[in-house]
């Protein structure tokens, strides 16, 4: 540990394999969205939510080339260096800091609050939310301090369990499917469907821009694009399946469930012996949310460390983690506010996850960066 401190630990020094990168992204996409997305979409699109999810997945995949392009540009050094090169030193630093604070850091804050809210509504009703947040965050701090490699390896280990549990979940929910729940198709026209898909695109399909900052840490730079694509495809596909399943099983009544996927897990039973297994399903949520949170936290602090030219990002873990807890409590006062917050977040994510990278790309093109020379 002491020797590591002397080295300058930056993203570029650490290497994970493209397979691990894909797995990280897939888990990232599932985490926290699996709790919120079904309810958020069904409020808007009712029985047509399944169309919205598919539209969102397709659009989400279409945005990826932009991120891959930018990611490949970051890969030569890192995100901050790239922005500084494009916008000049000081403007670049300010923009990079603003982006890091208003996108990955805020997503981290919201994710932390989501898991806290879920635990306090569904499982540990009387436990103070702070206790849950601090315990989760302490694991996240540990993960972030250990660095990306152990995190990626942990994700790689978790992945088979997540997949097996998800498949069990999906298969056991199958007998409850009722296709009447998705009829009539397009009753209220296309507008609510597109609105819902916009929500889904913004959360989480516009977030891979954050993950593309990890490009320098992946071994085979040329395979990064494919790895990102695979990860988003797997994660997005699981999200689509789970969301569609909640409508098919619970119907549009799910609007009144705060966590439809958990309500769905409660229905699962195999004969009379495999019942009440929803908490096992909740374990997948925890693991995915941990990976998501750890990635966001890691990327935020490493990015901030780069902007501030710090030697080691580790000195930032505790101060920023300390900020995260009160901020996540301040983020929204109650559960109702979170629902009203959805459209605002959609716009924010569009600006941060689409317009900002688009601008970067345009500036890059204008500066003649299209040629692949660093």
């Amino acid at each position: 540990m002491t020797k590591n401190n002397e080295k300058v630990i930056m993203l570029g020094k650490i290497k994970i394999s493209s397979r691990q990168f894909s797995i990280l992204i897939a888990i990232y996409m599932i985490g926290s969205a699996i709790l919120n997305i079904p309810a958020m979409l069904q409020i808007v699109a009712k029985q047509d939510t399944w169309i919205s999810t598919i539209v969102a997945l397709v659009v989400g995949l279409c945005v990826l080339p932009l991120y891959i392009y930018l990611g490949n540009r970051f890969a030569h050094a890192n995100f901050t260096w790239y922005i500084e090169k494009l916008l000049g030193k000081w403007l670049g630093k300010i923009v990079a800091l603003l982006f890091l604070v208003t996108f990955p850091a805020i997503v981290a804050i919201l994710t932390l609050r989501n898991i806290g809210d879920f635990m306090t509504t569904q499982i540990l009703e009387d436990t103070p939310i702070q206790a849950i947040l601090i315990i989760i965050l302490s694991v996240v701090i540990m993960g972030a301090r250990l660095g990306l490699e152990p995190l990626a390896r942990a994700a790689e280990l978790f992945f088979p369990f997540i997949m097996v549990l998800l498949i069990v979940f999906i298969v056991l929910a199958f007998p409850h499917i009722n296709f009447n729940n998705v009829q009539p198709v397009l009753e209220n026209g296309l507008k609510p469907v597109l609105k819902a898909s916009l929500i889904f695109i913004a959360y989480p399909f516009l977030e891979p821009i954050i993950l593309s900052m990890l490009f320098p840490s992946v071994q085979h730079t040329e395979k990064n694009g494919k790895a990102l694509f695979t990860g988003v495809l797997i994660g997005g596909f699981i999200m689509v399946v789970i969301t569609i399943l909640t409508i098919l099983v619970l119907g549009t009544q799910t609007v009144s469930f705060a966590y439809p996927s958990y309500a769905l897990a409660k229905l699962i039973r195999l004969g009379d012996f495999l019942v009440r297994i929803e908490i096992i399903m909740a374990v997948i949520w925890f693991i995915t949310i941990f990976v998501r949170l750890a990635l966001l936290f890691y990327i935020s602090i490493v990015g901030i460390a780069q902007v501030l030219n710090l030697k080691d990002y580790r000195s930032l873990t505790f101060p920023i983690a300390l900020l995260l807890v009160p901020l996540s409590l301040l983020a929204f006062p109650n559960a109702a506010y979170f629902q009203e917050f959805t459209p605002i977040w959609t716009i924010h994510a569009l600006v941060m996850g689409f317009i900002f990278p688009l601008l970067l790309w345009l500036i890059d093109i204008l500066k003649g960066g299209g040629k692949k020379t660093p």
């Binding site: 009703e125 009829q183 009539p184 009753e187």
Partner: protein, 398 residues
């Protein structure tokens, strides 16, 4: 070395203090509720909770006291009444193992929706209990009766309803999520199975009820309660209940008889049944077509028929079709005329098949429902004849 010693100390002290006992609910601190009854008295809710007496249920030793205990409390809301029970009960009521929720008829007539919000909101309550209505009785009366075969009366109520739905079909099992989704639906009104306490209720409350061969007091499911939105407006008979289950495709197995032309009857065991309801709208006039496909086995023959001939089987099938068509048509028209509420979900069928027309129809759907023509077509197939082909009665009489 010093560092690792310190770490070890911290770990040991953490093990002692952070054992995950924050919200612990020890089994011996919980009153496990298996049945819950809600009645209305004045503007207060009267809650009856049937709680398992663990020492009486566990193991083989039959104790001397009752296997369940009953707690009752009144309050302006369900939650308040439930918490008030803590003034009587030494343990907090734990709802996760609830088997039945009984609604008193007076509450059902006044409107049950308000009472249901608590059950859907409470994270502890699950979705796997049945909801029934105490017919011409208070919910509390039905939960007071002790039963045999199953020591815990609520568990017995649960299994009875499950079995009778599968084998006999005039009853229907309704769970909370189904009930709520029907309540909020614009094209369907709910029904719930009725529960009647029979016999000497005073003895039913004591252990004597389980000591005699024939219990003096029993609980029986009978008929379906018809609701207009959340208010009970009337009852369907057992036969009508069966027709309801045919229309809503909920028949898992049942028995029906057909009369033979020269006296006597044949009973048919329905082993599979599938119903398709199709809706169409012509010139703003909705129409419903019900198509039932049933497979049955011959269960009992009490008349003179030569069952070895295919011709006879076809005849019996035809009679069965006519009889079931008749039953369904009569039930539908009785609901249309007497209750004027769409319990069959025809509105939802129209909604699915023709959403545009539904937009115009939905505001006055119940008035429209009363007059819509319903065509029923039953197609039943007889598969096997049982252990014997022709009845021995054939030879006995000749």
């Amino acid at each position: 070395m010093k560092r690792s010693g310190l770490l070890l100390c911290i770990c040991i002290s953490l093990v002692v203090f952070v054992t995950g006992c924050w919200n612990r609910r020890e089994l011996n601190e919980l009153a496990i509720a298996v049945g819950m009854g809600i009645d209305k008295s004045g503007d207060q809710y009267e809650i009856t909770v049937q709680v398992v007496e663990p020492s009486e249920v566990a193991g083989k030793k039959g104790g001397t006291s009752s296997p369940v205990t009953l707690f009752q409390a009144k309050g302006p809301s369900i939650l308040e009444a439930l918490r008030e029970i803590t003034t009587i009960s030494p343990r907090i009521i734990y709802l996760a193992h609830l088997r039945v929720l009984v609604l008193g008829e007076s509450l059902a007539r006044a409107g049950m929706a308000d009472a249901l919000d608590f059950m859907s909101r409470e994270p502890e309550a699950r979705n796997d209990f049945f909801i029934v209505v105490a017919k011409e009785a208070k919910a509390s009366d039905t939960l007071k009766i002790l039963t045999n075969l199953e020591k815990v009366p609520s568990v017995r109520l649960f299994s009875t309803l499950e079995t009778s739905e599968q084998q006999w079909a005039p009853t229907t099992t309704v769970k909370l999520d189904e009930l709520i989704s029907v309540l909020v639906s614009e094209g369907k009104h709910p029904v719930l199975t009725g529960l009647v306490p029979l016999g000497d209720l005073a003895i039913g409350e004591t252990r004597k009820n389980t000591e005699t061969v024939k219990s003096p007091a029993e609980l029986q499911y009978t008929g379906l309660a018809v609701f207009r939105k959340d208010k009970l407006i009337g009852w369907l008979s057992n036969e009508e209940g069966k027709a309801y289950n045919y229309v809503t495709n909920q028949i898992k197995g049942t028995v029906g008889y057909v009369s033979c032309p020269d006296g006597g009857s044949i009973s048919l065991k329905v082993i599979r049944s599938k119903t398709k309801v199709k809706g169409s709208v012509n010139d703003e006039q909705p129409q419903i077509e019900i198509e039932v496909r049933a497979e049955a086995n011959v269960g009992e023959v009490q008349c003179h028929l030569d069952l070895t001939k295919n011709e006879t089987i076809t005849k019996v099938e035809k009679w069965a079709n006519e009889k079931l068509e008749n039953l369904i048509e009569m039930t539908v028209s009785r609901v249309q005329q007497d209750y004027k509420v769409d319990i069959f979900g025809f509105g939802e069928v129209i909604h699915r098949s023709n959403p545009k027309a539904w937009k115009k129809l939905k505001d006055h759907w119940d008035q429209t429902f009363v007059n819509i023509p319903v065509h029923v077509k039953v197609n039943s197939k007889i598969r096997t004849l049982g252990k014997v082909s022709n009845s021995f009665l054939e030879q006995l009489k000749e």
